[in-house]
Every structure is written in C-alpha cells, then in structure tokens.
Symmetry: C2
Subunit: 148 residues, 2 copies
DNA sequence: TATTGTTATACTCTATAACTATA
DNA sequence: TATAGTTATAGAGTATAACAATA
C-alpha cells in the first residue's frame, strides 16, 4: 500500500480526513494484534465477551457487527487458542454459551494495555483536552448512528 | 452487512469509534457517487486534478494514495465518461498530462455541492463549533501522519 | 416452520509481479 | 538500466445462500 500521500486538495473534506485517520489507526493497531496472532476485531470480541458473558455467537455477531458466517472463523481462532470456552446452551442446545478462559482474560488485559499505549502514541499530536474532545465528538456521532 | 450494531463495551476505544464513524460516512457518500456511476475516490481524483492540472497518472497515484495498478482502472472510468482529457506528455511520451474536461469541471461542482450536503447531514448531531473542531483535530492528526 | 451455527462460494478490493514503451 | 503506465493474477475480507441440528 502507498503509505505516504500528499493531497492538500482533499484536506477540506472531513470525510477524507476521517477515512485517512481511521485507516492509519487501524493499520498500526493491526500490527499490535498480529503480534498475538489475532485480528483487531478479536480484541473487540474479547471486550464484548468480557462485558456480557455468557454470550451466544449470534448475539456477539450482532454486537460486534461481524457477519454470522464470518464470526465462525473468528471464533474458531479464539477457541483454538484457548482464549474462550464454548459450551452448548442448556436450555437451547443450538446456541453456545461463550465465556473468556483464564488465558483469554490475561491476554485481554495485555491487549487493553497495548491498545491504550497505541492510543496515546497515535493521538500524541493532540493535547489531553483535544484527545478527550475528539473521543467525545466521535462518540456523539456513533450514538446518533445507533439510533433507530 | 450488519448495519446496526450495539457494542457499548467498545465505546471507550477511540479507534473503534473512528472506524465506525469513518465507515458510516464512507458508505453513505458511496451512495452519492454511485448515483453518478463513480467511486468516492473518483471525487478525490477530480479534486486533485482540478487543483494541480496538468498532472501525470503516477503523480495522481502518489497524491491520492491509490496504487498505480489500481489507478489505471479508475482513470479509465473517468476517461470513458469524458470527464478528463488524457494527452501524452510532449517532453516524456511515457507520461500522461491529465486535465479536467468541461464535463469533468461541471460534474465536480455538482459533487462538491453534494459532498457538502452529505457533510452537513452526517455531522448534524454536532453544532457548528463542534463540526469545525472535529475537522481541525482530524486535520492535525492527518498532517502529523504526512510528516516524514 | 423458524432459528443457531456452519460450510461453500462468489464478489469486491487491493497489492504484486511481469510486461511495453519510452527514456 | 530505470521509469510510466498496463495487465494478469493472487490474496484478504466479507456477504449470500444452502445446509444440519435443534426448537
């Protein structure tokens, strides 16, 4: 990929800036998760499982925005690595009850720390107040997207 | 794609918010350019050509971040639609001198207006000061990414 | 019949490498 | 030899549709 680009003609377009900044953040964070053999979305899955366990695969798919058919492979990776425990639902044997394993909980803490370090590094050009304001504005937009 | 997701566990991660907002903005803007039979990046290409014509294909590739091999197809689309004029460079016949055609200039004005409308709609949850601040913060990050 | 999870597959996007024509 | 542009192709990512097991 062409990493360095110069396109001042696009700097007036908020949408282009959004995409450029988002892609750069995603790509550098990918390197971090790849060092653990994982995809950035695995970090999101671990966060959601931690917050809501036990959770079914379909529920996790809905919460993370990952398509159910794609969720299978992602979850398999977590399972094979021993980061989650999959147990068939007792009341409904079609579903899984997914929980973090001890190893999953440990890796999640490592990833949380590395994600925070990545955030600090990536947002370093902004001072603390600006970083907080950026987060607040993005959260406001995200929440308005979530509204029905 | 799963359009609606609920993942409060991810709301603390600036990177996830960035990606979510960026993707939503890109997808909705794609609908606008698709109505003209174009890709969002075509709008970026037209903006850069307008600002810097005549420009070579490789120069445009560097400025827009589109890979040279991918640039071919994108440029072909603009050419077939009669939106640009491609002329072989006089001093170096390997290169093209790419300029906007009159039709290209007209469509660019339409797209500028539609992009501005899209921006206003998308950022509507923020007040004017917040919209300006978001742009400023993203620009600051972008410019720091561009630095060597 | 409907739903959870799975598989197979197709489609998009993009990058890599090999090629041509010019320099 | 090197560079601008082109083509063919391979890889990653993701969605669609059909299926098995269970409800």
């Amino acid at each position: 990929m062409v990493k360095s680009t110069r396109h001042p003609a696009l700097f007036g377009q908020t949408g282009f800036l959004l995409k450029k900044v988002s892609t750069a953040s995603f790509d550098t964070f990918s390197d971090i998760t790849a060092a653990h053999g994982l995809h950035p979305m695995h970090f999101g899955m671990l966060l959601i499982i931690d917050a809501e366990e036990p959770v079914s695969q379909l529920e996790l798919s809905r919460r993370s925005g990952v398509d159910p058919s794609s969720m299978v492979g992602r979850m398999d990776a977590l399972d094979e690595r021993g980061l989650v425990v999959r147990k068939r639902g007792e009341r409904d044997r079609r579903t899984y009850e997914i929980r973090l394993s001890d190893a999953g909980r440990e890796l999640l803490e490592v990833l949380r720390r590395e994600a925070e370090e990545h955030r600090e590094r990536f947002l370093a050009p902004l001072d603390a107040a600006e970083q907080a304001e950026l987060h607040r504005l993005l959260l406001k937009l995200t929440q308005s997207l979530e509204e029905p």
